[in-house]
């Protein structure tokens, strides 16, 4: 859930990612049908016990259900042959016993199905999140949050529906159909032949309907995702909507998306308007014919009343499960389409797995680093740079010079296409993500308050090892719990440093107050301070600040500035800035232009050089000198 997201960094990155020629940047792929099948097989393989238990229970429940009509057929026949009241009572009692067995067995079967379904759902949800966590950031930025959001939410919901409701019903219906046909064959093979007349209605109409419906449902889901994206956008930008008087335009665009959903639903409904009645006919017609054939067979002495009665009841009983089976598979199509959208994320390449190189020291070294967001479009053309421990470097340059891209490489968000990028002598590409994050943190002006408590927001990073910087090869020591939580004292200390302690103390439940849930208003400044406190806890030795201070209240909120100073103390800092306010304080200034570092040196040196930096500085200071 978004409270405050003010994103205005990361030029270049996103621009190239969505450049013309890139394959449809704004939609995530769908999983192919064979992926879904593989996923299903995999699931069956992993849960053989539960699945066979469930099927066995369903089978037993159905046998019990099918005994019913047999008993009645017997009853009808026996009352004609002048049976006794006693016998009737006995048959009825047997009937009750069978029914009770049926109810209990089907209850267990359904409960089994639910357990299984919930398990699949939890696994699917979790593996989706795990997968998204490993997606390259560039991919996530280039696809719509709407698309990702609807996959994470409404598609998972729909799959939930499909599995919780459709699966037990489909199983029940399929087994019922199969056993009913077997029972019919056992009762009267001759009259069973009539069933064939119903087949064309069921088979042909389903073959006509199914492929059309599948593509219809896919489009429907995409449209529904648009509706949600539009809702999300309007809610998120509600302030802009009001300020600029965009209400009518927003509702019209959202309304158009809703209209597309209704339109697609209408097309699907027309398909169903043909299909469902055909299914009804597929049992009604055999029923009429069984009556006819039964009458003829009775006269010839080929079939008794009991057989005909049972057959009629069986056929009547076929309609329910048939419609149930096919219509719930229809519902399962929706689930299938949703599943394909969820599994589609798996088709995206993930960041490659790194082996565990461990840096020795903090020196950062870049040698001829080149990088492009896509093949053939290089953004950085050979960067050489060395950053000593504790050094402060400011990176300046015009928009699109590659500053933010350089920052992302330094933080390991992207990896160089060619060239060497090392921290403490170890290649960044060879480090595990956990190691890398303990070394370098990227701070942008984008703040996000995560749904959860203050504590939850603070303790998101991995807790550093006790040794300074985590550079030692030894793992966590005994005193550090593996789940990496900080003690309350440590949290309070960090909050105190950034000046948030009073704010948190004023919250109803202190550290455990839920924020970002609509109850507590988190202002951008507080969000920023929370982020700083989090960084203090994470304790990386190098910080990449990408315009991190642009939104900070330089004139008013000195508190944030003080927290920032506390955070920067003793760390290497690479600070990417648009404005030249405080570049003089940096040890060195790197001037970037067209994907290269064109000048580097201290403020004084660069002014003496009278090059690009001197020009930037003079236009800045001229304006500043009013």
């Amino acid at each position: 859930m978004t409270i405050q997201t003010t994103d205005s960094t990361g030029e270049g990155a996103v621009r190239t990612a969505a450049a013309p020629g890139a394959p449809e940047p704004d939609r995530l792929p769908l999983a192919r049908q064979q992926d879904v099948r593989r996923w299903l097989r995999e699931f069956v393989r992993r849960n053989p016990g539960r699945i066979s238990a469930m099927l066995a229970l369903f089978g037993l429940a159905l046998v019990a259900e099918l005994v019913g009509p047999r008993l009645l057929g017997y009853l009808v026949e026996s009352v004609q042959k002048d049976t006794t009241v006693h016998r009737v009572d006995l048959v009825a009692l047997a009937f009750v016993a069978v029914l009770a067995a049926q109810a209990v067995l089907s209850g267990f079967a359904r409960a089994q199905t639910t357990l299984l379904g919930e398990k699949v759902l939890a696994e699917t949800r979790e593996s989706f999140v795990r997968r998204v966590m490993r997606l390259p950031l560039g991919t996530v930025e280039s696809v719509g949050t709407g698309d990702l959001l609807s996959r994470a939410t409404s598609d998972v919901d729909r799959l939930n529906e499909g599995i919780r409701l459709a699966m037990p019903r489909i199983l029940l219906a399929a087994v019922t159909l199969a056993l009913t046909v077997v029972a019919m064959l056992l009762t009267s093979p001759l009259l069973s032949l009539v069933l064939i007349t119903g087949l064309p209605f069921a088979v042909l109409s389903t073959r006509w309907y199914r492929p059309r419906a599948t593509s219809g449902y896919e489009r429907l889901l995409a449209d529904e995702a648009d509706v949600l994206a539009s809702t999300h956008e309007t809610v998120r930008g509600a302030a802009s909507v009001e300020a600029l008087g965009l209400a009518r335009r927003r509702t019209a665009r959202h309304g158009a998306a809703v209209g597309r959903v209704v339109g697609h639903r209408r097309r699907i409904t027309w398909l169903q308007t043909v299909w469902y009645p055909s299914l009804d006919l597929s049992t009604m017609i055999p029923m009429a014919l069984t009556l006819l054939a039964g009458g003829a067979a009775y006269r010839q002495g080929w079939a008794g009343l009991a057989e005909i009665t049972a057959m009629m009841l069986y056929i009547q009983g076929l309609n329910g499960p048939l419609v149930e089976l096919l219509s719930w598979t229809d519902e399962l199509q929706v689930g299938n389409a949703a599943l394909r959208r969820i599994l589609g994320v798996e088709r995206l390449p993930v960041e490659r797995a790194q082996d565990g190189a461990v840096p020795d020291g903090r020196r950062i070294r870049l040698r001829d680093v080149r990088f492009g967001y896509e093949e053939g479009r290089e953004v950085l053309h050979g960067i050489d740079l060395e950053i000593a421990p504790g050094e402060r470097i400011a990176v300046v340059g015009t928009s699109g010079a590659g500053k933010s891209t350089l920052g992302k490489l330094l933080a390991g968000v992207h990896h160089p296409t060619t060239g060497v990028l090392e921290i403490g002598g170890a290649a960044v590409t060879a480090m595990s993500v956990e190691t890398l994050r303990r070394e370098v943190a990227l701070v942008t002006q984008e703040n996000h308050v995560f749904a959860g408590s203050v504590r939850g927001n603070l303790t998101l990073p991995e807790k550093p090892h006790e040794q300074d910087g985590g550079n030692g090869p030894g793992g966590a020591r005994g005193s550090v719990p593996r789940d990496g939580s900080w003690s309350d004292d440590e949290l309070w200390a960090a909050l105190e440093t950034v000046g948030l302690a009073d704010w948190v103390r004023a919250l109803p439940e202190g550290l455990d107050t839920g924020i970002a849930t609509g109850n507590v208003d988190v202002s951008p400044a507080v969000a920023q301070q929370l982020a700083l406190a989090r960084l203090l806890l994470a304790d990386p030795h190098t910080l990449v600040l990408d315009e991190a201070t642009a939104l900070m209240d330089t004139t008013a909120s000195r508190q944030v500035e003080r927290s920032m100073a506390a955070l920067l103390e003793g760390r290497s800092v690479i600070s990417i800035v648009h404005r030249l306010d405080s570049v003089q304080d940096a040890d060195r200034i790197a001037v970037m232009d067209g994907g290269r570092i064109v000048e580097i040196g201290s403020h004084r040196e660069l002014l003496a050089l009278d090059g690009a930096y001197a020009r930037l500085w003079s236009s800045w200071s001229a304006a500043a000198r009013i």
Binding site: L99, A122, V227, D280, V413, T444
Partner: protein, 566 residues
């Protein structure tokens, strides 16, 4: 008839005001605004189910009359009757689907529309009230639930009708058996009833947990960049797994109960069926009814499971819809802030001055005034000047054209006094329309504004220029480009007073200087207030307001700090 069941092209204005006085009232409102599909699906539902209901009776007669002692003629007659029932059922089924889905789509479409309309109405006040995730969760989960209820309700009223017909037919054949069926089946249904309430509770609990999981999953999309920066991926995933397992447990507990309700749904009506068969067999023995009639009764009581289970499904669907409607009502009953004044004062025509004693800002009419401040306090002041934030009673009200903001007509105020800040986002859509908003602007005007905002490079970034399409949040553009587009959009409002909160924070210095000069020229003769820490804006301004030296935090902008530009 069924052709008109769907209305994809409903215009937003055609959606009447919703009754959000309560969950039931909201649902009833949905029915009231378009009762057609619901009524029709009830009628067709009955017509569709009746043949199914009559079938056992017909079969019973056919066995007695057509097979046991009838002629070929009467057998053929009965076969014909079955055929006619088949055709009627198929035809009614076709219409029922149209009507039921039409009803569902009506509810879904109106549900979505009232939600977004309300979001647009709440505008800036939404931010403090309800997270975007909550509203999206309602749209994603609750609206479809209401739609489902609309689909089921039509069908189930048909079920009730068919139940009544069967009951009458049975009672006419054998009063005793008729009464057993009439009382037995509803009793069986009622027997399931008490189980439904705990189920509803557990379902609700599961939905709540799922809502939390949904909010968490939504967090990934907006927070992934931050997570990546700090290496919080593992912790975040662990927490998600935790919540996901809670959802699972809640789902299992609801599912178990549901399974046993299902079992009760088999057992209780089954008892009635057996009772009928047993009683029927005895009646056959005593000669009161024929064997064919026994088959008819048995078939009828088997059939009655369908209407009963449909009714059960309807009860469940309605209870879910009730929960959903409650959530929608809570959102709909939020009122926008600020509250419009009871007796609004009109604003004078022409350029308006903007003055605020509280913050010491005086922006003369027709001038560009720069307030040398940025950051949160500046944003709060900008919001105060444009009547978005609450007023502190000690401070007096900002005045626009000498009218206190809280006395001005709010619609006019919003039209003539526009705030654009860095929390503004770009919306998805064609660039031309996204810039012009609801006004009809020619290309020349759009290009003028883009030029003033130094944003013409965006036209090159989008392959089709002005006809290009912006994706959600303008993500395909760089941060600087986005900010400049937001500025161009604000300029295009042609507001009499435009308040810009740090409009160039993501722009480099040389471009910023260009923008400052061009905006000053573009806004000539109209009042513009710019909050910016950058000297470049102060340079371009007619008047500059500086914070008094040495002040900190809230006491930043004190009266008397104003000074004319050199």
């Amino acid at each position: 008839m069924p052709v008109g069941m769907f209305r994809p092209a409903e215009s937003p204005e055609a959606v009447p005001e919703a009754d959000h006085g309560g969950a039931w009232r909201f649902l009833w409102w949905l029915v009231r605004v378009r009762p057609g599909p619901l009524v029709l699906s009830a009628v067709l539902g009955a017509l569709w189910m009746l043949p199914l209901a009559l079938l056992p009776l017909v079969v019973g007669y056919a066995i007695d009359d057509g097979i046991r002692d009838g002629s070929t003629g009467s057998l053929l007659g009965w076969v014909g009757v079955v055929g006619v029932l088949a055709v009627v059922q198929a035809a009614a089924g076709a219409g029922l689907i149209q009507a039921a889905m039409g009803g569902q789509m009506h509810a879904v479409s109106f549900g979505h529309r009232v939600l977004v309309r309300q979001a647009a109405r709440l505008g800036a006040s939404l931010r403090h009230r309800s997270g975007s995730g909550d509203v999206v969760a309602v749209a994603a989960g609750d609206v479809p639930n209401i739609g489902h209820a609309f689909e089921v309700v039509g069908r189930s009223s048909g079920a009730v009708a068919s139940f009544l017909v069967i009951a009458v037919a049975l009672t006419l054949t054998s009063p005793v058996l008729g009464v057993v069926v009439l009382i037995g089946v509803p009793a069986a249904l009622l027997g399931i009833g008490p189980l439904l309430r705990p189920l509803q509770r557990r379902n609700e609990e599961q939905r709540d947990r799922l809502g939390t999981a949904t909010a968490q999953a939504g967090d990934i999309c907006s927070g992934l960049r931050v997570l990546r920066g700090i290496g919080g991926e593992r912790k975040f995933t662990d927490r998600f797994v935790d919540i996901s397992q809670q959802v699972r447990r809640a789902g299992e507990s609801a599912g178990r109960l549901e399974a046993w309700i299902g079992a009760a749904g088999v057992f209780l009506p089954g008892l009635v069926t057996i009772g009928v068969a047993w009683l029927g067999a005895r009646l056959v023995l005593s000669g009161d009814i024929t064997p064919g009639e026994l088959v008819a009764f048995y078939g009828a009581s088997v059939f009655l499971v369908i209407p009963v289970s449909t009714a059960t499904e309807a009860v469940e669907a309605i209870s879910l819809a009730h929960v959903a409607a409650g959530r929608i009502c809570r959102f709909l009953s939020l009122t926008p802030e600020p509250v419009p004044p009871a007796e609004p004062l009109p604003l004078p025509d022409g350029p308006l001055p903007l003055a605020d004693q509280g913050s010491g800002i005086h922006a003369p009419a027709g001038c560009l005034t720069t307030v040398v401040a940025s950051g949160e306090h500046a944003s709060r002041t900008a919001a105060r000047l444009t009547h978005y934030g609450p007023f502190d009673d000690r401070e007096g009200r900002p005045r626009v054209g000498d009218v206190p903001l809280d006395r001005a007509d709010l619609t006019e105020l919003r039209r003539r006094l526009v705030l654009s800040g860095h929390s503004d986002i770009l919306f998805s859509g064609p660039l031309r329309a996204e810039l012009a908003g609801e006004r009809d602007r020619g290309d020349a005007a759009l290009l003028d504004a883009l030029h003033a905002a130094a944003a013409t490079d965006v036209l090159e970034a989008l392959p089709q220029g002005l006809d290009g399409v912006l994706v959600e949040g303008g993500r395909s553009l760089s941060g600087g480009q986005r900010q400049r587009l937001v500025l161009a959009r604000a300029l295009l409002t042609d507001a009499d007073v435009l308040v810009l909160d740090d409009p160039t924070s993501a722009v480099d210095a040389s471009t910023e200087a260009l923008i400052a000069q061009r905006v000053a020229a573009y806004r000539a003769e109209r009042t513009t207030v710019v909050f910016s820490g950058s000297p470049l804006w102060a340079n371009a301004a007619d008047a500059v307001v500086r914070p008094a030296p040495g002040t900190d935090g809230d006491a930043l902008l004190t009266p008397g700090a104003e000074q004319p530009a050199p």
